[in-house]
Symmetry: D3
Subunit: 266 residues, 6 copies
């Protein structure tokens, strides 16, 4: 079930570099793309710089790939103009290029900020209503909608992964709930490109943490079972920083500071 060529967009970012380092075995060739400069191509690698907002460039990058790990675009709150180029136009360009070139399977890095205005005591599953906490979150709702349209109309399968916080270890108390270990991320990508039938599931990208806001049972058919937990890092975090007080608005919503803070332009 090895792919011929996997495209990784956003390959110069944090997740992109992790994917590049750890996922070479998923395809015969890994094609790396980003707006920023990347390390030169290694064995079985191709490096192609590309602005996601430029359809012709995106089409060239997508052409020849039978899988896409779509990590590209803006990854935090930003101006509408920046988000429009990377996450609206860029997202559309990626799917339209996949349609035109026959690519049939995509892992789309959506975000927990698509549902970040739910309170923390709300357990979310794949049917949860969207509740974006930012323009960035709105752009991820848009991406999930495009992915579903291209699934229903053209048969392109997408794992819509609402990534929590993928770092070597949790960096604050909120991440005790949202942490996705690099190993669990790698296992997730493997499962998505291995599944006999992917469909268009919503998957929450978090490890098997003790604190949990999300329920992935609807995506059990994909076969991803996270193995790690943030709990062993709790004592270290407690020693390193004071958590926000119970009444702090940052604790109220799943999106944390994204939801608690005002508008980007403010």
């Amino acid at each position: 079930m090895k792919l011929k060529r996997l495209l990784i967009t956003g390959a110069a970012g944090g997740l992109g570099r992790l994917a590049r380092a750890r996922l070479g075995h998923v395809a015969e060739t890994i094609r790396l793309s980003d707006l920023s400069e990347m390390e030169p191509a290694g064995p079985n690698e191709e490096v192609m710089r590309c602005d996601l907002g430029d359809f012709d460039a995106v089409r060239a990058v997508v052409d020849g790939c039978d899988g896409i790990l779509h990590l590209g675009g803006v990854s935090v709150e930003n101006t509408f103009d920046a988000i429009r180029n990377g996450n609206l136009t860029g997202l559309y360009n990626t799917y339209e290029a996949a349609r035109q070139t026959g690519c049939k399977r995509i892992l789309f890095a959506s975000s927990n900020h698509a549902i970040g205005f739910h309170t923390r005591e709300t357990k979310l599953d794949a049917d949860a209503a969207f509740a974006p906490d930012s323009l960035y979150g709105v752009s991820k709702v848009f991406g999930e909608a495009v992915a579903l349209l291209y699934h229903d109309k053209f048969g392109i399968e997408t794992a819509r992964v609402r990534i929590g916080s993928c770092f070597p270890e949790p960096k604050d108390h909120r991440m005790l709930a949202t942490w996705l270990s690099p190993d669990d991320f790698v296992r997730l990508v493997e499962a998505v490109f291995r599944a006999p039938r992917l469909g268009c599931p919503v998957i929450y990208g978090a490890s098997a943490n003790a604190e949990t806001w999300w329920d992935n049972s609807a995506a059990g058919y994909v076969g991803w079972v996270p193995q790690d937990s943030s709990e062993p890092f709790r004592a270290k975090l407690d020693a390193a920083m004071t958590p926000p007080a119970p009444g702090d608005p940052v604790n109220r919503y799943q999106g944390g500071a994204f939801a608690a803070s005002g508008h980007f332009e403010d």
Copy 2:
């Protein structure tokens, strides 16, 4: 509860002209806006042409209004560029202008094409998952997400109305289910701007038709009770045209031809 000034965007279109003709009593002044030319202002009217894609122009149009009936933008499937300008950028501009100028209540003309890839035998309520049947439908999902963000973060209330088919009478057999009579549309706008508390509900814009795919019970607090039915037009339709055969794909999805047809650029 009369508004000071109601802005009607898309005032040159079909719904816009209906609103202009019938809803003058809702506000002391009606401000009419469109990219196209409109009839000259009558008593208590203001006419201002505006491209929704131009933020400064939108801000000027929104300024001074305490209610918006947002009918503007592209209203059928189109190229991504056209949809982006009118329905992505234009939608964002409208909400951002409302935030900056203090407008607190909007009726956003979303569309049944935001959920058009559900089959007809699926009864949808306000919690139904989005299932856009077109790029146009995707843009309406985007608009509903922006509206919710501006509600949750800034307290702007929006009725997200998934309009079915608002015409003097149903024009084909599908509209027996989707028809929204002009009178029911008028009653809906009245109820939305009269409600003591609007929140951010999803409302399906259809009359009390015998064939029905949609359940508005979650929005019962708004107080809109449609009074009309498409049923009296059935015989006339049967006489005028042959309905699609049972096996015709146009019958399969709620979005009808939008869902059954291929991509706009094809």
Copy 3:
């Protein structure tokens, strides 16, 4: 949308005679079938006696029909042998004949006894779990399962109508909830054979009674809206008979005496 030839099975029974008298306009030809003797064929009618347990006979009866109103088989509790012939084998024969001859739409007279062991205070909709109250009720669960299989595998559409009590007027207090007026039955058959897309819905066959245990909202797309109510008959019933006392087990379950009584062979 007039059918070419509608087959009515069980045409010698109560519902069958009603259908014969009232539904001639639904098809160019009405074919009437029963194990028992029937009135001679009138204009546009065909009469064919048939044992549903005999596949070849059933195939001959079904051949040439583009719609079936399947009222045939055993209609009350009986021995397993009797039920097996009419409602298991006979049901299978009907669907298999439809598949072989290309008939694509069926109204299957299922029964409230398929769900009769639910208590009366349980509101049932189309997703309610089966709860047969008798071997007869089990046979209707079987029929609904066959109908669904032939829909999912072969595209034959069936309205699975769980008929309450179809009589000129309610005959006891339980029927205040279960009564299906003859006029509403006629409207239901018309709607089922007129619907642009039928699928395989479960529909509860009851009028718009004040006492109600059933919710047909999931089948709203079929366009059947019952018009009658049992309420005007309440006083007459109260005068004619004493209703069962509140503690009487016959009041406990929706199936009434079917659920409260022991086994047929007892």
Copy 4:
């Protein structure tokens, strides 16, 4: 199905006097009870003063009745001591007396304040979680729990009616949603004491208003169909008073001022 003797507690209050005036036909004898003085007994009436907090007195009042319309106790927010006597002890005394004397059916006037902390845009049905907006609301949750215990353990049937606002006409804008017309109240009591099987349903006591927060479909088997609507009173209300502004906290919760206001003792 006429009762032998119906006890009406709280007979000196507003609902109690309404019941006395309109429900004489429900039983051969009406027994009226209250802590306060009542009009002298008319034909077929018995008048017995009683403190609900005194078990022996309550037992004497309940003895000999085969139905209870329990309107007694405190009916608005009050001190815990007052609520404890009337609505905790008094409620328990009523059910325990019913158990000891063999009374099998009760209509308990619970209140919308048992669920008053739900927001108005939350549609509630019989399964809605309790959300009391006051100590008074807590006492109604307690009463509903006692009623259910006595149903499950001793077979006493209760209609737990969460009464909205029962007055000759709506008195403020909130009552456009919560109004229960006197005629609909009378019809409800009739239906509750007539039903062949009552069980222990939750029923929202509101008329068929255009603005609605509540869904009674689960109790459809009781056969109560409200006939009136608050809508005709809207214009009169609009003329008589200014409704609370959209941002007023009194609009936020279903309980209105009960939820928006602080603690009784404050």
Copy 5:
């Protein structure tokens, strides 16, 4: 809690031989029955050949047993005649014999093919609607309905176990999701006959596999917790065979080839 005598029907089949080899400790005597020849009786065993379609024979086999492990009947798609004898008549005969002889607890080997027309991305729990993928699957729906009737009416408790694929190890990629390890099967039978209260649950018979379509949480009270996983067999399977391509219809439905293939008689 050891049974006096456990009847195992279908004892000559694969599951039957496994049960015979591993479950001797569940009862003082094990009675083995099949239409086919079986190994001679060992210590504490009784061997009785029997056609399930013959009521008198079934009654004799059931008589004296206080538990039945009902594995008999047709176990794959077949003609309607074959399925009718083994799985309709035979199933009825087994329950009717249990009723007549006083046997109160049964484990009925239903099948995932009773719900095989659900897509793989549909997570099913005990409330899932039936969706048979074959006549065989219809017969299992029938069996589940008979079991429920005999529970509700006569108090016979049944675990309705929708068995996935019980083999020493998974034999193809679909079984990565459906595999039930022999050890987990043994633990399941033990739990079913040990439970203080069984009721009539639906249980999906699959191990704790990484790929999973089924949710057994509703049956948690039975106390069966599967211990095994198919995951360790994945590499071996990958090496041994090419899995079906993503677009292969066999991947679409849970029933696999049963759902994807046409009618048995075709």
Copy 6:
């Protein structure tokens, strides 16, 4: 996140003594309160006797505490008078004192008897309807309602823990499902007072037993993951006692003997 002063009510009871012995690290000072005599205060302990029915006494005990572990009151079925003093008045006094003194977080020991009239085959989650099996159970419903009111109106957070059976090991077969190990209880208290945001969740207090009736997934954000299981004690229990026969009413309801037995006063 260490508390300044944790009040433990009911400190002389079984759970109270366990909490005293094991939870000293949760706060700088532990204040112990009970109606009965307690062991003298150790280091960092304060001992204050108090009748929960006496508001002034309760206020004095609560004053100065920033957390309450509320174990006090009647803990089994009793007369209404006893329950009223400890569990109605006493509960109210505790919350009102917390409000007046500014205490913001409480763990309230509710009970499985608040939902004990659900059958064992009903899986309950945090949304389950109350179903008290006793006056004691009713008092716990009351307590949960007060806790929610004080959360919604005054921002006091409560974990409403429906404790199963907290003993060193399960004492009968029912406890195989309801057992809460002392270690898991300790972990639960730690999690409740550590959570960045507690809200007002319902949590079922049971260990990770194989037999389970309860689903705590909605409270996953609290971060409590029970580690123990009753299963290792099964063989010992089987050897020590005969479990109730399957038909025994004590097996029918989750509340066991509380639900199966009659009224306390009987």
